[in-house]
Symmetry: C2
Subunit: 583 residues, 2 copies
């Protein structure tokens, strides 16, 4: 079933420095710096996965959206809960994996009031004997991985301004890279590197404002003309609008040790209503390449200049090397909210291809000569006019939920959404710490009636290999393994193992709540392969259940409730770790 194009050339593969040989652990949510979420473990494979069974379970004690990846280092698993962000260490060497310790950062409860999309957290990460994570009240914590003792705790934001943190840090080269959330509160987004030993700031780069703040200097060499010029983070906005301009950072960060670069995407400009902010609104909704040591920007590319629909650029950038028109190219692969799968040269920011992984009607793709997306003017959200049937929606054809890449199949596995929306732009006022949105949205299922899909994608050929339709948005992450399996969960609570080449569902298990978490796999102290997932519905799409929202108000959860009413009849709130193994 592999396309002949990719079968003839050698398959894409992550750079070895960013995806070293598998050690059977899973020490960071992305699995490796390249972000492939691929494990070389193959004890569980297409032949035997049908026998997979629950090995043990653990309650997070918090019935909110569980987005964290359970990580494993040595014989310890680390599980991070949504707010109040308690970190649990489980001893995998003992039957039933009893608790080793718990660490409670005691975040301010008022943080819950300014979190845009449930009180989620995307997980802890490990490096050099420490576990690092962010808290909803905008602190970053380092904890001794053995004892659970706090090593440092650094406050980086102010919840009174709507600043929160939900992302999983990237820990690399003695630094902890983190960013701020709050794009729906007019927070001015930034990314920051902390010293892993002390928690002190090493560098900080804003995503809006003057070049100096954005760490744009002489090294900055964007590929396209529209990213070139002085202080575009100021001049592509109405006066001062960049100060409440969003561009927050809450997705996964990848890292190329050879290039010494990190890659991440700033979120949407604020407010949503585009009529408030004529211009490209740099440096929102794009991807930055920055020097990991200094934070200096090397290049930037904007997926969605002058954002119309809350299309945060934060989705994953997976680092691969691949054959492109006869040349081996260092690329990053990025499935954007706008429905396009981008292949970008990660040394230059040149877009090699941008193919639709999901059909949309809001634009016609990218003009590769200019790098600019071609907007459909009839879907432009003019003020005080209800524009109907815009596809995709604000959360996009795909939200934060990360893909996985298998170099064995050469395929990218993408969880995505099939949603459309009605949108009315209205005029918002900026008041610090309150929502700054300016749009009334109602979402509904896209063509076909299903709201989610899980697809295998041939990156080089730029086409879908197989797809699985899901009743609800595919809001969780993905795991690919050398057993030719991909794992993902759906919002009904089914955790599935799929044949990586055919898309056949080989096994599925009904967890106790909808799944929006990130599956991981590891070799246990007993030498056996295990697969782990947190169940517990929530996040933006599942807030109707996790926050007990009234299904009668379709505009609740910024319009998501309109599409998700039925979720209340299908699943319940939860928060449980499931770990599976073969008998």
């Amino acid at each position: 079933l592999l396309s002949s194009a990719s079968a003839q050339t050698s398959l894409p593969t992550p750079p070895a420095s960013a995806a070293p040989a598998d050690d059977g652990q899973w020490s960071m949510p992305t699995k490796n710096f390249a972000g492939t979420r691929y494990s070389e473990l193959s004890e569980i494979n297409t032949e035997n996965v049908r026998d997979l069974q629950v090995a043990f379970t653990f309650s997070t004690g918090v019935n909110k959206g569980q987005e964290a990846a359970p990580i494993v280092v040595g014989s310890t698993m680390y599980v991070l809960t949504p707010y109040p962000n308690i970190l649990y260490a489980l001893d995998l060497s003992q039957p039933g994996a009893p608790m080793k310790w718990q660490y409670n950062p005691k975040p301010a409860s008022a943080a819950q009031g300014v979190a845009c999309c449930d009180v989620v957290n995307r997980g802890p990460t490990y490096a050099d004997g420490r576990v690092f994570f962010t808290t909803l009240d905008a602190h970053v914590v380092a904890v001794n991985a053995e004892t659970g003792e706090e090593i440092w705790k650094t406050k980086l934001g102010d919840i009174n301004k709507g600043e929160t943190m939900t992302m999983a840090p990237l820990a690399a080269k003695g630094k902890v890279i983190v960013g701020i959330s709050g794009g729906e509160y007019g927070v001015r987004g930034w990314i920051q590197a902390l010293d892993a030993n002390t928690g002190k700031s090493v560098w900080k780069a804003y995503n809006t404002g003057p070049d100096a703040d954005v760490k744009i200097g002489s090294a900055f060499k964007p590929f396209y003309d529209s990213e070139k010029g002085k202080d575009l983070g100021v001049t592509t906005w109405p006066p001062d609008a960049w100060q409440q301009g969003g561009g927050t950072v809450w997705g996964f960060v990848t890292y190329d040790p050879d290039l010494n670069l990190i890659f991440y995407g700033p979120g949407n400009p604020g407010p949503w209503n585009p009529n408030q902010r004529p211009g490209d609104n740099k440096w929102t909704n794009g991807v930055f390449a920055r020097d990991i040591d200094t934070g200096e920007a090397l290049w930037f590319y904007q997926w969605n200049p002058h954002d119309l629909f809350d299309w945060d650029g934060i989705n994953e950038n997976i680092l691969l090397d691949l054959d492109w028109k006869g040349q081996r190219r260092k690329v990053l692969v990025h499935p954007d909210r706008n429905g396009l799968l981008y292949v970008v040269d990660r040394t230059t920011g040149e877009v090699l291809s941008a193919s639709f992984y999901h059909a949309v009607n809001a634009h016609q793709g990218v003009d590769l000569s200019t790098g600019r997306i071609k907007i459909n003017q009839d879907k432009y959200p003019l003020q005080n006019k209800v524009v109907r049937d815009i596809c995709p929606t604000a959360p996009g054809a795909k939200d934060w939920s990360p893909s996985a890449f298998s170099h064995k199949t050469g395929l990218l596995y993408i969880p995505h959404n099939n949603l459309c929306m009605d949108w009315e732009s209205v005029e918002p006022n900026y008041i610090a710490g309150t929502p700054y949105v300016g749009a009334e949205v109602r979402m509904m299922p896209g063509p076909g009636g299903h709201m989610g899909e899980f697809s295998a994608w041939d990156i080089v050929a730029g086409k879908e290999v197989w797809t699985i339709k899901e009743r609800f948005p595919a809001w969780g992450g993905t795991l690919a393994t050398a057993g030719d399996l991909v794992f993902y969960g759906n919002m009904e609570g089914w955790f599935k193992a799929v044949h990586a080449r055919t898309g056949e569902v080989l096994w599925q298990f009904k967890t106790d709540s909808g799944i929006i978490g990130q599956p991981t796999t590891y070799r246990g102290p007993d030498g056996r392969q295990y697969v782990a997932i947190l169940s517990g519905v929530g996040g933006w799409s599942g807030a109707i259940v996790s926050n007990d929202l009234d299904p009668r108000d379709g505009t609740a959860a910024m319009g998501f409730v309109n599409a998700m009413r039925e979720l209340k009849n299908v699943t319940t709130k939860g928060g449980t770790l499931y770990v599976f193994k073969l008998p």
Copy 2:
């Protein structure tokens, strides 16, 4: 390992009318009117139980103590959550048992403030196409079992007076038998029969006060002299004290269709401080036999006259017929909080035997000629004096957690506690709707350091056959099966299958939270045997976790926190249904 005594005679057996042939369902928490919690299903047995695995799971969405028995009628399972007491119907005929409907009685949230022991509920019950259950705010509800539509909802108590409901109703003979909780709030206890069709009261009997209120009339023929006399519910109290005298009803009710009698135990007298209420404090802490149609009392026996230690008489009364000194006798079997296992003639109230199933130092057992318990005066809780090392504690050698009886082994399987306490009586004031206790208690592990045990008990021989020690109190229920297995869960979260004859743990699975629920088993629509349990720690013993109590305050949860501090390091809050089957 069976004692030779019981092997020679025919084994005890529940009356056929109260425990009819197994239909593969589990329609009431007690399994049958006799309360044996025994199933004739034997597909899962001592040979194959090691292969048992999780079939599916379901989140109750509420992280409080899960005490309910999951019940099964036809191809539907009914799961009742703690407050807010949502009833879920799951379709067992579909993969993953999806939700059929949910019914939310919307109890008043203030009810949580007057619940003594977490916001638990012991489960729904089924009869004639209806599911019946109680709500924490003291309503009883009947719901159409097929559609989830409310048929009736009757308010029976007032939370402003501290009245709540937590018990599982008994549905029998067109009636729904329920009682009120609130012994720690000076609630005057009663039991009541509602018309199953209309929810209207058929009869109501108080457990304190004048004979007329107690439904003591000419039919009342107690066995012992101390239960004889006019208006003992008034005269065994200081003036008017019976009005706030407790004797609430929150345990399981059993029913003998041949005798037309129900059996249940009133709870402790209020307040705990015994110096406030000289006298026997009838009719608390005993067992009533009442006519199911009229509520008329036939007899009463008081396990603990003039209660010293909060020894509610509510523990299960299992109905058995057994050979006793050459005669077949109709008995009830009752493991009391005071550590004694009573065998009582259920036609007369005569105590045939009272043997220690757990060692205690607070009394020396029962004088069978008078029926009275022999108190150790040096453990008498005089006012303003700390009496140390009283064993057992206020929750008793065994709390509500029900035993199971297998007529195949002839053994009773008893979850119980090994706890001692320091007690200081203080003077309480009665203020409606506020705690009325008058004791400062601190509990600790009993001799040996373990806090729980799970034992097999030979009723006729009056002795233990085997026992399993548990680190924490054994706070969940028990299931016995014809597969020669007994199932129970512990507060660490392990769900265990034990060889019914030897006590060998043949299988165990780590659920996500501590277990205090009641296991059940059923034949699924596919003809296979399943075993179900709710996991989710809480109740009185687990309130430290479910209510986030401060472990530094040993007197919290009426002194239970002192013993349970470590539970916080061992388990987390939860609320998950687990259903197991063979591969």
